[in-house]
């Protein structure tokens, strides 16, 4: 299976933030969700992939090719949605489309028209009068109108209402019917991802905590609850981030089968949502 995105030991230094040794890959035909709290480095990774910022180390390959040497070819196959799309506020959507469309050799006008129609976007209204959700919809319509093989979206669902979020999901499923299409998106609204994502990459503080298939994650991660007397040096090894209270503890494990053995029958095991995983991993990160 070919990887559309292959990132190795990627590094980016800022004065107040460092992205360290980021490695992950996305096979063709699948969806990856980049999750993590705000400021964890999701946008930095996406900007590095798009070559909007320069890396300080490591390698990025898109469609199996070096992302700077084949920049133009690669970008013509990517549909990109930036987290706060900045379009000229004094222009209308039609004018903006006229600016962007000529850059893509396989721009498909009918697709664009049908998406604009589907999203209820006015072509003649200036962007300043668009709501944040509408601007995002416009960006998505533009990104999906040139038959891109890889869709990269930075926080596409923030600012969108739940109804449109579902619509977007349907649209992405439609896209995925073609097994050559892949999607990478970042979000901190994890409920969107729990449905469609095949792979999840969790970033905290510029570091990758894990990058695995979603099924694998849900098989191994779980919420563990029990009495405080169960916590000791031995058992704590299996827990990631512990919230203790007067009546007991709540924690997360990434090794469900071992936890069942070590803790015995006196614990309650709950399914961990991505949000739980993000929360407890961050908890551990901050206390470690």
């Amino acid at each position: 299976m070919e990887n559309v995105i292959e990132i190795q030991n990627l590094r980016k230094n800022y004065d107040d933030f460092t992205l360290k040794d980021v490695s992950f890959s996305l096979p063709e035909g699948y969806v990856m969700g980049l999750i993590g709290p705000n400021g964890a480095g999701k946008t930095t990774i996406i900007k590095l992939i798009m070559n909007l910022i320069m890396k300080n180390g490591g390698g990025i390959k898109i469609f199996g090719k070096n992302h700077t040497e084949h920049e133009v070819e690669i970008k013509s196959r990517i549909g990109f949605v930036y987290d706060t799309p900045n379009y000229y506020e004094h222009l209308n959507l039609k004018q903006i489309k006229n600016i962007i469309a000529p850059f893509y050799s396989n721009w498909d006008e009918p697709v664009f028209v049908s998406l604009v129609d589907k999203f209820d976007l006015p072509l003649k209204k200036i962007i300043r009068k668009f709501s944040r959700g509408m601007v995002m919809k416009a960006a998505i319509a533009i990104a999906l109108s040139h038959h891109a093989d890889l869709i990269i979206m930075d926080e596409p669902t923030s600012g969108l209402d739940p109804v449109f979020r579902r619509e977007l999901l349907d649209l992405l499923y439609e896209l995925l019917q073609n097994e050559k299409k892949s999607i990478l998106f970042s979000t901190h609204i994890t409920s969107d991802l729990e449905r469609i994502a095949d792979y999840i990459t969790l970033i905290l503080d510029g570091k990758i905590i894990f990058s695995r298939s979603k099924d694998e994650i849900f098989e191994n991660y779980a919420i563990v609850k029990g009495g405080n007397e169960l916590l000791n040096e031995e058992t704590k090894k299996y827990l990631k981030g512990i919230r203790t209270g007067e009546f007991g503890f709540e924690s997360l494990t990434d090794n469900l089968s071992e936890v069942k053995k070590k803790f015995g029958p006196d614990i309650v095991i709950d399914r961990a949502s991505l949000e739980d995983i993000m929360y407890y991993s961050n908890l551990r990160n901050n206390h470690a």
Binding site: G29, Y30, V31, L169, D170, Y173, E174, L176, Q177, E179, R195, I196, A197, D198, Y199, S213, K214, D215, F218, E219, R271
Partner: protein
């Protein structure tokens, strides 16, 4: 074909999908040679991930319930009658053992259980 997914279920989604297809093959709702929806169509319809659907199909194929024909999709495999019956018996067994477990918890003895079973059996006639 009918598949319903419960997000609240502790069973992983690929297992839920697999189980439901399996039971429909065993019950005869799905016939030999019937085409199954493609992995990507099923993922879209159920709004689950592609990789999950793929895994469900892979498990079914491993167990011999479906065949994947390259380029054409997945089909319900030719089942021999013995094999099917065996599978069906296995589900009966599973359900019974579950009933026995519950009965034991409640302290129902063997005699009462047998009686209950014969009443139920006759009622179904």
């Amino acid at each position: 074909m009918k598949i319903i997914i419960a997000n609240s279920s502790p069973d992983p989604i690929y297992e839920q999908v697999g189980k439901q297809i399996k039971s429909q093959i065993i019950s005869g709702d799905l016939d030999e040679g019937d085409a199954l929806p493609s992995i990507r169509t099923l993922a879209k319809e159920l709004q689950i991930s592609v990789i999950t659907t793929k895994r469900a199909y892979e498990e079914l194929e491993k167990e011999g319930f479906i065949d994947t024909v390259g380029g054409k999709g997945c089909f319900v495999a030719m089942q021999n009658k013995e094999f099917l019956k065996e599978k069906k018996m296995k589900t009966v067994e599973e359900k019974l053992s579950e009933a026995v477990k519950d009965a034991k918890k409640l302290g129902v003895n063997m005699k009462d259980l047998k009686e209950m079973l014969s009443i139920l059996y006759n009622e179904e006639e």
